[in-house]
Amino acid sequence: MTYEDLVAIAEKEKSARREIRLRCCMAAGCLSSRSAEIKTALEKAVKDNGASERIEICRVGCMGLCGRGPLVGVDPEGLLYEHVTPENASSIVTALTGGVAEAARGDPGHPFFTRQMPVVLARSGRVDPERIEHYIESGGYSALQHVLFEMQPEQIIEAIAQSGLRGRGGAGYPTGLKWATVAKSAGERKYVVCNGDEGDPGAFMDRSVLESDPQAILEGMAIAGRAVGANQGFIYVRAEYPLAISRLQVAIRQAKQYGLLGTGIFESSFNFNVDVRIGAGAFVCGEETALMASIEGKRGQPRPRPPFPAEHGLWGYPTLLNNVETFANIAPIINRGPDWYASLGTEKSKGTKVFSLTGKIRNTGLIEVEMGISIREVVEELGGGAPDGAKVKAVQTGGPSGGCIPAAYFDTPLDYESLMKLGSIMGSGGMVVMDEHTNMVELARFYMQFCMEESCGKCVPCRVGTVEMYQLLTRLAEHRATLRDLEQLEELCDLVQSTSLCGLGQTAPNPVLSTLRYFRNEYLDLLQAEGGGHDGENPLSPPAQPVGMKRNDSWL
C-alpha cells in the first residue's frame, strides 16, 4: 500500500457510487428494531423497481436519533425517515421514483442535528462500518500516511499537545502530555491500549463509535503507536457489546489485508498490530490498572499508582492508555491541524464532546457538540425537553462517579471545570435526564447498589463502605432513618472518598453527595419524625458545607 494506492481506492469507490444512496442505520439500537429486515426490503424494492443503476442501499452506523429509529437517510436529498418498518420501507424507494412514502419523515433541520458539531461522529451514519474502502474514500488513513512520511514522532506529540485535546474517558488529562510521558519512558517494548470498557450505565458513546466507525479508532491507535514508539495495541471492549466486537474484528482484518496494520505499514519500517480483548462484565475494569490486569488474563483488580501505566503498564512495559473517543479525535487533528481543533471549545476544554442523551427526554440519542455549549441548550433545544409536558428536574452526568445538576444550573457551560465546580464530572459523556417524578434518594441508592456490587473487594473502605452506605440509603428510602443515620452517611461519604484505593471507591459517594447538596429536602422528608424531622428548628439547615468532589478520578 502506497499513497497512490490509497488515492486509487478512494477514486474507485467514488466512481462506483450511484446517484442516490439510501443509508440504513445498522447500529445496535436500530438493529433491535428490525433494521436488518428493512435493509433487505429496501434492496428488494430497488431491484423490483429496476432502479439498481440509480439507487444503492448502504449499511451505516448510528445516525444519532436512536429514540426514533430505525432511521433511513437519503442522499443527496438529505431526507430522513423515522420509525421505518420492514413493511413500509419499500415506499421510501417508491417515493424516489414518483410515488408517496408511507414512512414518517423526520426533520433534518431540527436543532438536534443543526446544533451538533460532528468531528468524532463525522462518519457515523454516513459510511459502511464494515467496508474499509468507504473509510478510505472519506479521507481515512491519510493522517497515518502523513505522520509516517512527513512528521517525526516528537512532532506528532507536539501537534496533539497543541490541539489541547484532553482525555475523553472522563478525567480530562491532557492527551499530549500523556503521550510525551510514554514516549520518554524507557522500555524495550511499549503498548497502546484503547479503553472501550464503557461501564457507566446510561452511556453508549463508545459503543456507537466502535460500531459506526471502527477504522477511525485503528488509525488513531496506529498514529499513537508511531508517536510513542509502540508496535502492539490492544482494544479492550465490554462483552456486552457483541456488535462492536465483531465490527472491530472485521475492521482489523480488512486493515491488515490492505497493509494498513501489520508489518511495513505504507511500505515504511513501521509495524503496528492491534488485538481485541473482550471484557467479562466487571465495571472496575474501566480503571486503567484493573483494565491492564484483565488484559493480562487476571482478576481485574486495581493496584496503587504510581507507578503509572505510562512507566509501568502492561507486563511492566510503558503503556499508553486512552479512551475510544480520544483516539477517534486523533486523525481529524492531524488532517485539519491542531490550530483548527484548538479553535473549538472553551479556553481549557478544546474541541467537541460526544454525549448520549437518555432518560426522560424527547429526543434520545447520540450527540456531538462543541465544548462550552450550555446544558440548557442540550436539554431543551437538542433534546426537546421532557416528554408529556413534564418538567426537567436535573441531569445526571458521569454515571456512578458523577453527580446531578439541578435545572437551576442549566446555564452552566459544558466543560471539564464548570461541571467539576457543580459537584459533577464530565465523565465519559452519559447524560441521563430526570423529570419531577424521579426520586433523588432512590437514584442515589441505585448508584450505591451499583458500586457496592461492582466493588472488587480489594480495599476495605470501598468493600465495606459501599455496603454500609447502601444500607443507610435503604433505611432512608424506607422511612426508617434518623438524623444520626444521615450524619453517619455523610461521614462515610467523606471516609470512602478519601481512603479508597482506586477511582471506583473514591467516586462512589459522589451521587449521594451531589443529591444531598441540591436535593437535601428529599432526604429530610424521608427521616423518621421522632428522629428529628425537619419541621421547626432543624439542626441540619442551612445545608452543611458539601464535601468537595475528589479530583482524582482519572481512572475513568
Binding site: 433491535s32 456486552e240 457489546y241 432518560g359
Partner: protein, 164 residues
C-alpha cells in the same frame, strides 16, 4: 523442564474448539479470559472439568482460573436454562422503569434475578447496561435486544419464547 500438554477431557468435539482457541494464543497464560469466553460459548457454562483442563493447558494454577471465573459477572459456573432473558438495569432503563419490567418477569417466572427455573427452561439475568439507553428500558431475549419494553409486553414476549 518440558511442559506436557494434557489430553482433551473427552471426545466431545467442543473441546477441540477450546483447544484451537488456546493454540491461537500459543497457550500463553494471558489468554485465560479469552479461553474462558470460548468455553462458555461452547458449553454454556464453566464446569469443573473445563476449569481443570484450561488450567493445566495454560499452565496456570487452578486457583487463579477459579478466581478469574468467579470475579467476572459474565462467567457462570452453573448450567443456564434453555432460554435466557437479560433485563438491563442501567440508569436510563432504571429511570424509565426497567425495575418494574424485572419485577413483572420475576413474578411471572417465579424466579429471582440470577436464577434458573426448576424445569431448566429459563434463566433470568440482569445487566449493568447494554448500551441500548436510547430505547430504554431494554431486555435481551435469547440474544435479541428489544427496546421500550413495558411489564406486560415483556411477559407476553417471554410466554412466546417459552412455547418454542
Amino acid at each position: 523442564m518440558k511442559l506436557v500438554k494434557p489430553s482433551l477431557p473427552s471426545s466431545d468435539k467442543r473441546w477441540k474448539i477450546v483447544d484451537s482457541r488456546m493454540r491461537r494464543y500459543n497457550y500463553q497464560a494471558h489468554a485465560l479470559i479469552e479461553v474462558l469466553h470460548t468455553v462458555q460459548e461452547s458449553f454454556g457454562y464453566l464446569d469443573k472439568d473445563a476449569l481443570k483442563f484450561v488450567a493445566a493447558t495454560l499452565h496456570v494454577p487452578l486457583s487463579r482460573v477459579y478466581g478469574v471465573s468467579t470475579f467476572y459477572n459474565f462467567f457462570s459456573l452453573k448450567p443456564q436454562g434453555k432460554h435466557t432473558c437479560i433485563v438491563c438495569l442501567g440508569t436510563a432503563c432504571y429511570v424509565k422503569g426497567g425495575d418494574k419490567v424485572l419485577a413483572a418477569i420475576e413474578s411471572f417466572a417465579r424466579i429471582k434475578r440470577g436464577e434458573t427455573t426448576s424445569d431448566k427452561q429459563l434463566s433470568l439475568l440482569t445487566a449493568r447496561c447494554i448500551g441500548a439507553c436510547a430505547i430504554a428500558p431494554a431486555v435481551v431475549y435469547d440474544g435479541i435486544v428489544a427496546g421500550s419494553q413495558t411489564p406486560s409486553e415483556a411477559v407476553e414476549r417471554l410466554k412466546g419464547i417459552l412455547k418454542q
